[in-house]
Amino acid sequence: MKSLLFLFAFISGISFAQTNIIAAKSHSGDPSQSLQEKDNFDLPNETRIVKSVKYLKDDCIVEKCEVTMWETQIVHDTICDHPFLQKGQIDVNRIKSMYPEGTIYWFQLGERR
């Protein structure tokens, strides 16, 4: 059986806040730099860090995410039949291309058996 297991983490673009300005001020950041980000009209923010992506079958992956909205929780998502996950074509580069531009990949372990 062919399987592909790799592990990486990234911070996605999903980072919206109470308001960008207040969120930036809360960590002594520069509010002007937050104006290109989405914000959530006063409501709490959420960050999503994909901790690992695991190959499930020919056209499916399981994404393990760390979702933080004041507390951190592990969420698993099974993604099947995605345009980038065509049967027999799943590899690290194709999966990476599913994630937004500017994604930071922390580390990556590739394994095939």
Binding site: A9, I14, F16, Q18, T19, N20, I21, I22, A23, K25, S26, H27, S28, G29, S32, L35, Q36, E37, K38, D39, N40, F41, D42, L43, P44, N45, E46, T47, V67, T68, M69, W70, E71, T72, Q73, V75, I104, W106
Partner: protein, 398 residues
């Protein structure tokens, strides 16, 4: 003319809600997509008509493009109102009833969303460690208001309740007038807070006050008769003209969908109290007592703070704060991405040692962790009498 005005305003209320780039938990991000599709025109209007330079994304609350989009949607709405008057399928009364019910549900949704968020203590969070150590005069009004609200969970519960109660009243046609009146009072206060403390949710709060007024508008004669003229009056029928069973089914589906969206994030997180959630590793404030006080090559650092959203903040002796986004590694060390540094943290009795590895060099400093809960701002004690308050401060001094 009055009829066009009311229909146009009703359509604008619905369009504004659809185009609002709100990030939902359960609903699809339709507003973000729609806002992005109009962003070219909105930004052109903002630059050409209002003469404003664009610095922000059109999906940011109170961006110039958002104001321009609201203006653009107002024009669309009145054009649609004229088109609707020309058709024969629906009567003017049907359209008014639909728009009035839609406005009541939109208002109820936003009150529930913000009310539940306050009730569950997620909106106004406990001030962050760096905020607690910032002198009051150095905080701008918006973060100052946010921080003050964040120090009192009981006031947040109260504020949450007075938003949730009218939200429920608005969902039922018999109590809609009362719900609308309370909503107007609550949202009028929110609008004034946003204006007075310069909080950048002015457009949305203005919109919600307009929606409250729209919901109340068919009942103005009743309000005048009740409060001023002391006469009897009959309430206009603003319910959708549908068969009772159909109406019940539609209402049930809409209410279930609204509540799914409102509770989705909390159920997904399994948390219904924002104050009890686990904080990031090393969260808190640390006073440097010994060792290198120039961490990450910044001079004269007095304290370091770890912010719950993943920031390391250095505070120097002049009270200047510098922030760095961080990640906590599996071994609990701190990764400072932008600086290419790794910080190992170890506790030795009452002290915490930070060892920074950067550019192949290692420096360390010893800190004392502050007990944030013992700071006056986070003191949750309550006193019925001034004697009790004075008595407790005297016993604290002793």
């Amino acid at each position: 003319m009055r009829s066009y005005l009311i229909t146009g305003l009703g359509i604008w209320i619905v369009l504004f809600a659809l185009f609002l780039p709100f990030t939902y938990g359960f609903f699809p991000p339709l507003g973000i997509e729609l806002t992005n599709s109009l962003s070219g025109i909105s930004e052109w209007i903002a630059q050409s008509f209002f003469g404003v330079e664009i610095y922000s994304s059109p999906t940011t609350s109170d961006s110039t493009a958002q104001f321009a989009q609201a203006f653009l949607l107002l024009i669309f709405a009145f054009l649609l109102a004229i088109l609707l008057r020309g058709q024969r399928r629906f009567t003017g009364n049907h359209i008014r009833q639909f728009l009035h019910t839609a406005a009541a549900y939109i208002l109820s949704f936003f009150l529930l969303k913000y009310g539940v968020d306050k009730l569950f203590q997620f909106q106004f969070y406990t001030p962050e460690p760096n905020t607690l150590f910032t002198p009051l005069g150095m905080l701008s009004k918006d973060i100052l208001f946010w921080s003050s609200m964040g120090t009192s969970s009981s006031y947040n519960t109260f504020m949450g309740l007075i938003e949730v109660i009218p939200a429920f009243l608005l969902l039922h046609h018999r109590t809609r007038l009362l719900g609308g009146l309370i909503a107007l009072g609550v949202l009028g206060n929110v609008l004034m807070i946003n204006f007075s403390f310069d909080i950048t949710v002015k457009l949305l709060s203005m919109y919600l006050v307009i929606v409250s007024l729209y919901v109340l508008s068919p009942f103005l004669k009743n309000l005048f008769a009740f409060f001023i003229a002391n006469t009897e009056s009959t309430k206009p029928e603003m319910r959708l003209s549908l068969k009772p069973k159909v109406r019940t089914i539609i209402k049930s589906v809409v209410v279930i969908v609204l509540f799914t969206e409102i509770l989705f994030n909390y159920v997904q997180m399994g948390s219904f109290n924002g104050r009890e959630v686990e904080k990031i590793e090393h969260f808190g404030s640390y006073m440097i007592t010994r060792g290198d006080n120039n961490p990450l090559n910044y001079k004269d650092i007095e304290r370091i703070h770890i912010h719950c959203k993943g920031y390391l903040i250095l505070e120097n002796v002049d009270g200047i704060f510098i922030d760095f986004p961080i990640q906590i590694a599996p071994d609990n060390s701190i990764i400072v991405r932008n600086e290419g540094a790794l910080i190992y943290v170890s506790r030795e009795g009452p002290t915490t040692v930070f060892e920074i590895q950067k550019d192949g060099k290692s420096t360390s400093f010893i800190t004392q962790k502050h007990e944030l809960d013992s700071l006056p701002a986070l003191d949750d004690s309550f006193h019925w009498t001034v004697d009790g308050m004075v008595g407790s401060s005297v016993s604290n001094e002793e």
